[in-house]
Amino acid sequence: MEHKMSLKWISCRCLVLLVLALASFGCAQKGKPGLAKEAASKVYVPPGSHDEMYAFMSGGFSGQVSVYGIPSGRLFKVIPVFSQNPETGYGYSEETKAMLNTSYGFVPWDDAHHPEFSQTNGVPDGRWLFINGNNTPRIARIDLHDMETAEIMEIPNSAGNHGSPFTTMNSEYVVAATRFSVPVPQKDVPIASYKENFKGALSFVKVDPKSGHMNVAFQIMVPGFDYDLAHCGKGPSHGWAFFTCYNSEQAHTLLEINASKNDKDYIAAVNWKLAEKYIAEGKGKSMPANYYHNYVDEKTRVAKSEKVQSVKVLDPKECPGLIYYLPTPKSPHGVDVDPSGEYIVGGGKLATVLPVHSFSKMLKAIETNQVEGKIEGIPVLKYSATLAGEVKNPGLGPLHTEFDGKGYAYTSAFISSEIVKWKIGTWQVVDRIPTYYAIGHLSIPGGDSAKPWGKYALALNKVAKDRFLPTGPNQPQSAQLFDITGDKMKLLLDFPTIGEPHYAQMIPAEILTKHNQQIYALESNGNPNGIMMEDDAKVERKGNEVHIKMIATRSHFTPDCIEGIKVGDKVYFHVTNQEQDWDLPHGFAVQGMRNSELLIMPGETRTIVWEPKAPGVYPMYCTDFCSALHQEMQGYLRVSAAGSNVPIKYGTGK
């Protein structure tokens, strides 16, 4: 009883503080000018010099991934992932459209949250970057050689793919947890039948160690809570994965109140090695499903969609030892495993302490049956039995924790808008520094891996307010770079981001630069419509389709004058960039084409479809300033009336 009282009192105090924090929002202290010179020297990358690290930031509701240099905060590239991108033709060209196919049809957008590097022995290896699509549950894989999206896997039986795509130590799996529980399989039921009909799914997506290809290996059906975030074990805890959940109240409406009632929700600890065993024993039930697997074929570089129609499902009731719930205060958000793999930190967004579970104590609690109850067959371990310690005063609204590899942890606190540094083992807070404003995730290079490069911390803030020149009602989100090499954290730099940068991962540059791809080799261009030489260029009519196999090279197209197209035709421009020179893309655009442009990398073939509506002569041109005679890189397309008998005729310089 007394325990309950004190919690209530703490919650009250928490609310008061929250109000205070909100009230003082606008008057947070700015960086002191005296420090500016020192900070500037740490982020200044002289012209022509390179940054020390790459940061891959989620583009949030832009659906993309942005690539920044650290410490300069310079934006290098936006990688199109879940959203169509007319700038490059991604999601418009015939070679990339299939990437955005889903069981719901073509979805041109998503909400991208958590980039995650592939790992070898728990260390980011620079091969791939995974990122989740939250809205229409998907996981994308970006190939870090060319920094382009290579694959997108839809996740069945899932909704709000938030707890994703966190990797195991050798990227055996990336995981996906459903933030919204839904009827499984989907059916038309009253929303109020939530408790009876709604289920959660924890998915394990297998990653082929050579090709990187993903497949949904199995799912675990769990009680209908909101599964929020995840991290996989490492070292001693390799073989386990940890998922936070809130809404153990199983509310389906007004969750801000109704899902905030329980003192504790849970971290679900899943023994995935045991799951593999159960699957091998045939305990996984094949369940009919409908989801898409889209990938870029390595030979042709053309995206393909495959429909997958079943998924293996494990039921915890039939799989003892598969999953345990660790009670964790209160509506936990992040779950982060320290570099040693022993400590599991739960970020309770409404909690007043930061609980740290011990993996070895958890194993002992399982062994000695320290169970306080069961939920749908899943044992709930005693809080005291798994707890290693609590970090007191971890800020208000602690969300996420990353590690520097030197014995310290850094927790983001959303409501008090700060990073709180604490020591692993003593659980004492040793430093705190404000962020501007309302930090969500934070990122340390390798900070969720077994071997952090603990030099910088990047705060990914939800609100920029007055930090930059005003840009109307819609201000950018803001990232802030901190130096974490000393006892005290130091603010170095503010910079705006693309979309909402939920999470970012950083990696020393040389891990990626050593295998950065500069061109696509023309001789291994496997596109069925690609051509190697200008002599091979041709225009062919197949019924009402006109296929133009075209070369783009400095500074002309072959052919650049084409006649014989008719209204009602579907014109396919298959444009091959014949160059083999780094940083020499050509662009392609046609006046009035109700489609995007194409940006074609050296050695690549891209196809765009044009359906002209009226007779006339239409210019086409190169959109990427390629050479001294770029302006001359143009041509004409003659469109005749439907049924006219203008013959196909084409050429360049004739």
Binding site: R554, E579, Q580, D581, A628, L629
Partner: protein, 201 residues
């Protein structure tokens, strides 16, 4: 001939074999747009880019000023140089093994003539390549020609060209030097000249 002189001649002949397997000349280009540089290797039997696509890139750039494409298959010298090198290597070996100062002198003279002819031929190829320009070229600078230097550096519009012998080339020069040294050694011994062989030249 003394055995030391003979070994020098044998070594000189073997160096010519080296020239068959390494580029003889290197032409390096750099420009504001190509800070990393592009390079051409001229071998006994082929012309290649320093990196796989350099030749193609150089050809593409050169079309703006109307230079002919460098197509190694159509350059007849590349078919002649390897057998000539082999011939000199074999005959050099024979001279080295059999001995004979006069024979060595004959070999040296022929080698010098062939070398000079080779350099002249390379110069004329460069001259032709730099002067025989397409009159329809997009970029035409009055009075400008684009002959690359035989040896050394030259600025051609935005491109800085550096032309230097490469491993194979140094092997040929080294071969000539070794053979000449062997000859002078022998002559000194025969005529009893005590001075440095260089002064006696």
């Amino acid at each position: 001939m003394q055995s030391k002189s003979r070994s020098l001649v044998v070594a000189a002949s073997l160096l010519l074999v080296v020239a068959l397997f390494f580029p003889i000349w290197k032409v390096s280009l750099s420009a504001p747009q190509y800070p990393e540089g592009k390079g051409l290797f001229i071998w006994a039997d082929k012309i290649t880019g320093e990196l796989p696509h350099d030749l193609q890139i150089i050809n593409e750039l050169n079309h703006y000023i109307g230079m002919k494409r460098i197509t190694p298959e159509s350059i007849k010298e590349l078919k002649i140089i390897p057998p000539v090198l082999v011939l000199f290597a074999l005959s050099g070996l024979a001279v080295g093994l059999k001995g004979g100062r006069k024979l060595l002198l004959a070999w040296l003279v022929l080698f010098a003539v062939a070398g000079a002819a080779g350099l002249y031929d390379f110069y004329s190829w460069e001259y032709d390549y730099g002067h025989d320009l397409n009159h329809n070229a997009p970029i035409q600078v009055p009075g400008m020609t684009y002959q690359p230097p035989l040896i050394g550096r030259k600025q051609l519009l935005n491109i800085n060209v550096l032309s230097m012998p490469y491993i194979g080339g140094f092997a040929v020069f080294g071969s000539a030097f070794l053979a000449a040294y062997a000859y002078l050694r022998e002559r000194k011994k025969a005529t009893g000249v005590k001075d440095s062989p260089w002064q006696s030249m």
